[in-house]
């Protein structure tokens, strides 16, 4: 059948199983939006306040479900506003397809109104990107984009569509979506070799990251830990994959990881790294980080030995690789090693409760108590993000959405909208943010009101840019340059202005009451929680340091 580019656009989205499209209209995408209007019974379009919010929403949708998030923006400023969201998704390997309109092909390269060379701009932050120059290429290009986003190590793909391509027409043949092929076979010799190393180890440690979440590989991971009695630590990206209360779960590793996890990493004789890339926030000093033998399992061969030297590498989907290794692993009990870990745990940093002021860990405890273990928690970036990673009682692997690699302040509200849209109103979505991060993209509050999303936002309001300030306290002689903005924002009034519900809490009791009320709301709400500006994230290992440099108080 003969269809216009815009009709093909919608047909391929439906063919690829897209149910929600986040975006913002504009001149270059008018044809596309017109067609989406006609197909609104088949695809829901979500209008955000800003394209950046739309890109984070598509990202949040993907993180919460594992499906590909889709965002659409117009040419020029619409396209450039997506950049931060695309880069965020790229750094955390989140499957996303971003569509941008562009000026007509005859106007490209002439500095036309709202023209930007988005293909060039996003080249280093996408897995791949395309400019579609002929309507005949549109359908297959879109299909490739969806295939690339979901295959291997997942990530964002951008498709730039000039306006005339959306208007022109050509023959269209519907196709079934391609099955994404995954590595299911694992080299047996390598699996045996890995198992032999695990069997020999006296002090083995598993370190897992976001790759386990993507691979939905939690089950084989748990089976391995249980069978061979191995303790495990995780990176920020994998919070929630293992239960909070699991005795083998040592908690988070790295700069703000706990003492036990970092100590165990230093003292282990074998480290099994699964779906993690030893970033500079984990292996702060790649030379002294561990003296153990290291086995790395990752789907991306270019991660092998990129940051630290390896003894064995296995390329593949973590879940399948673990299943292949498991039969060769002998049941074991590492009594001495586990006893040592129990002893270290007594030395872990413990924050002190207060009944006078609101302390972050008490706030999070109360939040977990009321919101329950099945809630999806979304964070922005900064101190609150690390407190969340440290103190939330995680129970589900897609229940903690955070910008790890790029560390994007302002990520949270868009991502929470995406997660809530994807999971439905009945899923409880909680957003944790700081006053700094929230100021960056709180404009999306209007989106949550428009779509009546019951997102509860907890603002850790210390009146300063806490994380940067903490570094200034520790390393810059308390010279608080540009971290004390003296803002007078009244978040309760801001909420009312948007048509949302606002609360203020200065004590735990006030927070308890506010949260209980927020949980009854149909629409969005936020709670402004006053915390002390001298609250710090502890423990901390300074950049480039190791366990010997850990700051515990």
């Amino acid at each position: 059948m003969r269809l216009t580019g815009s009709q093909i656009f919608v047909e391929v989205l439906i063919e690829q199983g897209v149910d929600i499209l986040f975006g913002y209209p504009g001149g270059a995408v008018l044809n596309l939006y017109d067609e989406l209007y006609k197909s609104s019974d088949r695809i829901q379009t979500v209008l955000t306040a800003h394209e950046q919010g739309a890109s984070h929403a598509a990202d949040g949708y993907a993180r919460a479900t594992g499906r590909t998030g889709v965002v659409l923006a117009t040419s020029g400023p619409g396209a450039t506003n997506l950049v931060t969201g695309i880069a965020t998704a790229y750094m955390d390997s989140v499957p996303m397809v971003a569509f941008t309109g562009n000026v007509a092909t005859s106007l490209i390269g002439r500095d036309s109104f709202q023209e930007a060379y988005i293909e060039g701009i996003t080249l280093p932050i996408t897995k791949h990107n395309y400019t579609v120059r002929r309507v005949e290429d549109l359908a297959d290009t879109m299909r490739s984009a969806f295939r690339i986003a979901q295959s291997g190590r997942k990530g964002p793909v951008l498709v730039d569509i000039p306006k005339d391509v959306t208007a022109n027409s050509c023959e269209f043949t519907p196709k079934e979506p391609e099955l994404i092929r995954t590595v299911t076979q694992v080299n047996d010799a390598l699996a045996r070799q890995a198992a032999a190393m695990i069997n020999e180890a006296q002090r083995p440690l598993v370190c897992f990251g976001g790759g386990v979440r993507s691979a939905a590989g939690c089950q084989p991971l748990r089976a391995l830990l249980e069978k061979a009695d191995i303790p495990a630590t995780h990176t920020l990206m994998a919070a929630g994959v293992l239960d909070y209360g699991d005795p083998r779960n040592l908690g988070m590793l790295g700069m703000h990881g706990c003492f036990t996890a970092n100590k165990a990493m230093a003292e282990a004789d074998l480290v099994l790294a699964i779906g993690t890339r030893f970033s500079d926030r984990v292996a702060l000093n790649p030379e002294t980080f561990t003296s153990a033998k290291v086995i790395q399992i990752d789907i991306d061969p270019s991660e092998m030995g990129k940051n630290i030297a390896l003894d064995l590498s296995i390329t593949g989907d973590a879940s399948y690789v673990l299943q292949a290794i498991l039969p060769y692993v002998e049941p074991a009990l590492h009594k001495d090693w586990m006893a040592q870990i129990v002893a270290w745990r007594k030395m872990d940093y413990r924050p002190i409760d207060s009944d006078r002021v609101l302390r972050p860990h008490q706030l999070i405890d109360e939040l977990c108590r009321q919101a329950g273990p099945e809630a999806v928690y979304v964070t922005d970036v900064g101190q609150h993000q690390l407190w969340a990673a440290q103190y939330l009682h995680h129970t589900k692997s897609r229940g903690f959405l955070t910008s790890g690699g790029l560390g994007t302040m302002g990520f949270g509200y868009g991502a929470a909208i995406g997660a809530q849209m994807a999971l439905g109103r009945r899923q409880r979505v909680i957003m944790l943010t700081g006053d700094g991060s929230f100021h960056m993209n709180l404009n999306e509050g209007c989106t949550a009101v428009s779509y009546q999303l019951p997102i509860i936002t907890v603002i850790f309001n210390n009146q300063v840019l806490g994380m940067v300030r903490q570094w200034q306290t520790s390393f810059y002689g308390k010279r608080y340059s540009s971290t004390d903005p003296h803002r007078k924002t009244d978040f309760v009034k801001v909420a009312e202005g948007f048509g949302a519900k606002g609360y203020r809490a200065a004590t735990l009791e006030e927070f308890r009451t506010a949260l209980a009320d927020a949980l009854q709301q149909e629409g969005p709400s936020w709670i402004d929680c006053r915390i002390d500006k001298d609250e710090r994230v502890l423990p901390m290992i300074p950049g480039g340091g190791d366990i010997r440099d850990i700051i515990m108080e």
Binding site: H128, R181, S302, K306, S313
Partner: protein, 200 residues
């Protein structure tokens, strides 16, 4: 071309051959990657191949084994790359073309002609006060040739960078396995991955 960092003792000269899709913008993708990852490139040439859908990019660089592993693996991640492999310098043919313009009055013509004939360089232009020489050869030969001109005034110089092929019949390099169907660990041509894992 990225900025040159100081060579380390373990660095060797390496030549990588990339077979890539012959589209517009492919060179930009490859060079952007090299720049972003901080790979030091000595020269880079792009040329057509016998297959109109494929171009060959020949990269000459310095580095240790780990650097080259990363360069190859990162380049493989690009959608447009088809095969990426290092050429064994012993078993490959490398050529580079030099155009050299030197100041040359009538009294120096004889000495320059002698250098040219020893190196089998061609004199392709002559004016009353200059001479242009053309030389094709391995990079080392070009380097040696240029050393002969330290006493002369070089007016302009242009080197094409290395282009290279393996000796003998057609070589079967492992096709870059798409990530999703990478069933086994493929060894690098001539070398295993970190950890010495090899394919079965």
């Amino acid at each position: 071309m990225t900025q040159q960092s100081l060579p380390r003792p373990e660095d060797r000269r390496r030549v990588i051959s990339l077979l890539v899709d012959n589209h517009s913008g492919v060179l930009a993708r490859v060079s952007s990657l090299f720049n972003r990852r901080g790979f030091n490139i000595d020269s880079l040439t792009v040329s057509a191949t016998n297959d109109p859908a494929v171009s060959r990019i020949t990269v000459s660089t310095h580095g240790n084994d780990r650097d080259i592993d990363q360069l190859i693996l990162q380049t493989e991640r690009l959608e447009v790359s088809r095969q990426v492999f290092e050429l064994d310098l012993e078993n490959s043919l490398q050529r580079e073309l030099l155009l050299l313009k030197v100041a040359c009055g009538s009294r120096q013509r004889a000495e320059l002609k002698e250098i040219a004939s020893i190196y089998k360089a061609k004199i392709i232009d002559l004016s009353p006060d200059s001479m242009v020489l053309e030389l094709t050869g391995k990079p080392e030969k070009i380097d040696a040739f240029l050393k002969m001109f330290s006493e002369y005034e070089i007016l302009e110089l242009c080197r094409t960078g290395v282009t290279a092929l393996e000796r003998g019949g057609k070589h079967e390099h492992i096709q870059k396995p798409p990530q999703e169907i990478r069933d086994y660990q493929f060894p690098m041509p001539g070398r295993g991955l970190a950890g010495g894992a090899s394919s079965q």
